[in-house]
């Protein structure tokens, strides 16, 4: 059974159908790169997985728990999937360490010492042990995003959902974030990444998903798809992003 299973999911905002029957299995350790034009439903798909948006029909399960299911405690489910956002969304009133410690403390009910140790581990993992006492406003965008990754990792999730996590960064800061993601991938973390970094999708992804007009238009091994896209839309998309 896939870790994340998405079957025929539909979602509308008013009369605007944004997801028109999306199906996608994600196995443990998969690195799924999701690409597609703006408005094709990529963010909405990710947000349906942890219930930030509720889907209208179809089924999403995470580790056997059905998203939005009557028997599912969404908070239990959300512990299994971390989310990283384009805008970092750090808690502005807490230091880097405070940001990473908060959820382990109040959600996992860890003691101060234990939460602190884990948080420091995670900050070290993203290369920011020395920034633990800095507030978000004192960090660069790349550093903020790495704190956000550490914050998600501190919950020991089984999968991470990353929604264009380098799109708000200055070009010279993109790589430090991508390197962290690459390390996670090599350690076997299950990742679903919406990204515009085509080279990264090709080199690090184990699966490429091209979304178009609310559907999975084409999917497969990244290298094969980039070398020989089957549909005209993906051809055009790849062509446009190369230009």
């Amino acid at each position: 059974m896939p870790l994340v299973s998405i079957v025929d999911v539909r979602k509308s905002f008013g009369s605007n159908e944004v997801l028109k029957g999306v199906s996608l299995p994600v196995e443990r350790g998969d690195v799924v790169a999701i690409v597609g034009r703006s408005g094709s439903g990529k963010s909405t798909l990710l947000r349906c997985i942890n219930g930030l948006e509720s889907h209208d029909s179809g089924t999403i399960t995470v580790d056997g728990l059905e998203v939005g299911g009557a028997a599912t405690d969404m908070r239990v489910l959300r512990r299994q999937v971390g989310m990283i956002f384009q805008q970092f969304n750090l808690f502005p009133h807490l230091t880097a360490l405070g940001n990473v410690m908060l959820a382990p403390r109040i959600v996992l009910k860890m003691g101060e010492r234990e939460a602190r140790d884990i948080a420091l581990d995670m900050l070290a993992k993203v290369g920011l042990a020395d920034k633990r006492d800095n507030y978000p406003s004192q960090l660069s965008g790349g550093q903020q995003q790495r704190v956000a990754i550490a914050r998600a990792l501190a919950m020991r999730p089984m999968a991470l959902l990353c929604d264009e996590i380098t799109s708000a960064l200055d070009p010279e800061l993109i790589n430090e974030v991508l390197r962290v993601v690459e390390t996670l991938a090599s350690e076997g973390m299950t990742l679903m990444l919406v990204t515009h970094e085509m080279r990264f999708a090709r080199d690090v992804g184990t699966k490429l998903v091209f979304m178009h007009q609310g559907r999975v238009h084409e999917e497969g091994p990244p290298k094969a798809l980039f070398a020989a896209p089957q549909t005209l839309e993906l051809q055009q998309f790849i062509g446009a992003s190369r230009a």
Partner: protein
Amino acid sequence: MIYKLQFADLLPYWDVLVRGLAFTILLTLASTLSGVAVGTLGASARTFGPQWLSRLVGAYVELIRNTPFLVQLFFVYFGLPAAGLKLTETQAAFIAMTINLGAYSTEIIRAGIEATPKGVIEAGVSLAMTRLQVLRHVVLKPAFEKVWPALASQIIIVMLGSSVVSQISAEDLTYAANFIQSRNFRAFESYFVVALAYLMLAILARAILRALGSRLFPKA
């Protein structure tokens, strides 16, 4: 004839003045704590609560913001006994000020809460926090930081507005002035000194609130 200032005529009443001053300070302190507590709960209910509660709080806020404080005070002191609730002057003054500051601070704090970026709330939710945890640990502190100057101003407005509690014979600073000038007929001197005392209190309160602000919200 030229009026001759006789501040010395106040001296026999210095204890009345001090008691009035102490009363005003304590009343302000107590009703600030309770009023801001009410405002915090009100603002939380207004933004994170169920719709019926949000509406109820909205009605309370409108009611208080669109009626004079003196009438609110009279209602609590003279009106509530008709409903079987008999209060001392001090209790009535405290309750009226709490209700008043509660309403204004509900609106002020609500503005701070609503300025929270949606994504920051979603980050909390994604980390499996409950709505209440998000409110308490993620939203409230930055909200307070944002509206702290407005809140401080409102607290001072309420402190100065507390002078009307002398109308129900609560023995505050203004009551002291009324009392003294009715005895020594030195209205100018009495009200002048008391006005000065209010001015000092306001300046002091502002300084304390500012210091408290930079203590609560340390950041480079």
